[in-house]
């Protein structure tokens, strides 16, 4: 798992991404200094509660952020080239082509007045310059590949005539029809029934194998992460709070937030009177606490938490944004905050938006 730095072999490298929303009530720092990398064929899971910035991160990669939001800082490199420097035309070339995205709500994500097959054919025709007739045939083929029976007939149907699971398959077909190198999936199964969820995940795994496709999988569901992800990034209030290989996250979570998330999942065979919860609520983005953003909800909170913690390498390839040592002790007395942390603290304390 690479965190910063070299593009060695990486398909997508995001560094220091900051996407802020300039609203009437103030600046919302939806994504505030996020960095991660995805290698070819690898699946990165981004986990977090609603509002933590994971969807905005995905939209930022696709450069689909609109007013009042703006990417204010950072770099997003796709195979070495910085997407933030691309012209609109070049970016359009990337979307739906090198990077495809599928969304949470299949019902509203498909245009209700066009037939499903046409919507797929449109993207094929656009990026591969193929005439509509042929694109239409390819679309039917794709529908078959995603497991829709009677594809030819279904292609001529409208989204409202299909069930939720089938619509998501159509979305997947649409996304994969141009053989993208990276698929961004934003909560692809959240709006579906559990049984359908399992089917869709199986489908995605199969297609991933076949196409050697990298996936950026965004979800709040740790079960999905366990199924699909190779690496995991945990986000909280716009920042990365933990990052590691998936097994590490589940076996040796470090950040109190991650630990809280994992602890709150009831397990078979456990005998308990009460479910574990993480006390408190996600902070109001317009009224963020200074220092560590999690400190008000953290059972380990210490005086040093008033200084924002930097992302520290707990063990090889395992990062955590917390002052606690790898053994969950308070940090040694007299430890100097890193220059980065000091800078963050200074920025957080400064007046003016």
């Amino acid at each position: 798992m690479t965190q910063r730095g070299t593009d060695g072999g990486e398909l997508l490298t995001v560094e220091g991404l900051r996407t802020h929303f300039f609203t009437q009530d103030g600046v919302v720092k939806a994504v505030d200094g996020v960095s991660f990398g995805i290698r070819h064929g690898e699946t990165l899971g981004i986990v977090g509660e609603s509002g933590c910035g994971k969807s905005i991160t995905a939209l930022s990669v696709m450069r689909l952020i609109e007013r009042p939001g703006r990417i204010v800082e950072g770099s997003i490199r796709l195979a070495g080239r910085d997407l933030l420097a691309f012209s609109d035309e070049e970016m359009r070339d990337v979307r739906g082509n090198a990077i495809s995205m599928i969304f949470q709500e299949p019902m509203t994500s498909l245009n209700p007045v066009f037939m499903c097959g046409d919507q797929i054919a449109e993207v094929i025709s656009l990026h591969e310059g193929i005439p509509r007739r042929e694109a239409g045939d390819r679309a039917v083929e794709m529908l078959g590949q995603v497991g829709i029976p009677d594809a030819k007939r279904r292609a001529r149907e409208y989204p409202h005539q299909l069930s939720g699971g089938m619509r998501q398959r159509v979305m997947i077909a649409m996304a994969l029809s141009t053989n993208p190198e990276l698929l961004i999936a934003d909560e692809p199964t959240t709006a579906l029934d559990v049984t359908i969820q399992a089917q869709i995940l199986e489908l995605m795994k199969g297609l991933r194998e076949r196409n050697r496709m990298a996936i950026m999988l965004i979800t709040h569901d740790l079960g999905v992460i366990a199924e699909m992800a190779d690496d995991v990034v945990v986000m909280y209030a716009g920042k990365v709070v933990e990052a590691a290989v998936v097994t590490t996250i589940f076996e040796r979570p470090h950040h109190p937030y991650t630990r809280g998330l994992l602890a709150s999942i009831p397990r078979m065979g456990q005998r308990r009177l009460r479910l574990e919860v993480i006390q408190g609520v996600v902070p109001n983005p317009l009224n963020l606490p200074s220092g560590c953003l999690f400190k008000r909800r953290c059972r380990y909170a210490m005086p040093v938490c008033d200084t924002p913690p930097p992302l520290q390498e707990i063990e090889t390839g395992h990062l955590s944004r917390c002052w606690l040592t790898p053994t969950f002790e308070p940090p040694a007395v007299g430890v100097e905050p890193t220059p980065e942390a000091a800078e963050e603290a200074a920025a957080a304390l400064s007046v003016g938006r």
């Binding site: 006390q279 408190g280 609520v281 902070p283 109001n284 009224n287 606490p289 200074s290 008000r296 909800r297 953290c298 059972r299 380990y300 909170a301 210490m302 005086p303 008033d306 308070p330």
Partner: protein
């Protein structure tokens, strides 16, 4: 730094405490007021309406019968201090007459809206609450009323049953305009019927009437208030049109509409005559429209449809 005190357990750990969220809690009406005030246009409209109403009430009250006092000597006199718009062909103070006309038009407009609400709300409430065949029958009646061209219907009612009679005009506009309010209330009631808080009320043993009056009607009032405010604009324009054509308020009574008729006849003497009642009318319409828009956003921001 925040002003919260953090207590610490032995060992330095902080017990898990609830998040201190400093955003204050507000009541429903405070929130409504807050949202309304955000719309500068709506606030301006509110004050404009206030000014118009005040002028329409005060100026005729203060000037007594001046609005119909003719005077041979003052025919077509130019504007002066006591008569900012001069005198017309009969020697009447135009400004005072304009205000009297505004008063008439506003009175008819507001009253018509009251009639609309008085007819429409119970109608819609009954239809929505009872549902089934009662709803069907009542909605058929709505269809019938809506199927006749509205202005022509009002015209017929006023022309045949009482030209120049303000009450006939009010009732005519009311009888044709209640359908929107009825539909709104019916729609709200139909959905509210299944709403949880209504079921809860029933479970607690509240009678039908109590549920309707105490719970459902207040919830459905918001769209009615908006429709009523916007309805003022429509009613005032309808009255003006009626008076313009000679069916509504007729001279010597004053109305913005019949002042326009005179303006048409006396164009060559005073081309500006058509502008005074026209601008006044437009101001009323604008005030009512923006007020209505502002109320819509304030009372139910979910409904927000940006039309301006």
């Amino acid at each position: 730094m925040e002003s919260t005190q953090t207590t610490r357990l032995p060992g330095g750990a902080v017990p898990a405490v609830d998040e201190v969220d400093l955003t204050p809690v507000r009541t429903y009406w405070q929130l409504v007021r807050q949202r309304f005030v955000r719309h500068r246009l709506a606030v301006i409209a509110f004050f404009l309406m206030l000014i118009l109403v005040a002028a329409a009430v005060l100026i005729p009250a203060l000037s007594g019968n001046a609005w119909k006092e003719t005077s041979l000597e003052r025919i077509n006199q130019p504007p002066s201090l006591g008569a900012p718009l001069g005198y017309d062909n009969l020697g009447i103070n135009t400004f005072v007459r304009l205000m009297k006309g505004l008063q008439t038009s506003l009175f008819i407009g507001f009253s018509a809206v009251v009639v609309i609400v008085l007819i429409g709300v119970p109608f819609g409430a009954i239809a929505g609450y009872l549902g089934g065949w009662a709803d069907n029958a009542l909605m058929r009646m709505v269809d019938i009323v809506l199927s006749i061209p509205t202005f022509f219907l009002i015209l017929m009612l006023v022309a045949f049953w009482g030209t120049g009679n303000a009450w006939v005009i009010i009732i005519a506009i009311g009888l044709t305009g209640w359908t929107t309010a009825a539909r709104l209330v019916r729609g709200e009631f139909l959905s509210l019927r299944e709403a949880d808080f209504v079921q809860a009320g029933k479970a607690l043993g509240a009678s039908g009437r109590r549920i309707v009056t105490r719970h459902m009607i207040p919830s459905s009032l918001a769209p009615v208030v908006v429709a009523a405010t916007l309805g003022i604009a429509d009613s005032v324009v309808i009255e003006a049109a009626l008076s313009f054509l000679g069916f509504g308020i007729t001279p010597p009574e004053a109305s913005l509409g019949n002042m326009l008729t005179k303006a048409q006849d006396y164009f060559y003497r005073d081309p500006l005559l058509a502008w005074y009642p026209g601008i006044t009318l437009i101001l009323v319409v604008l005030a009512a429209s923006f007020l209505g828009d502002g109320l819509r956003d304030a009372l139910d921001p979910r409904q927000r449809v940006e039309t301006s």
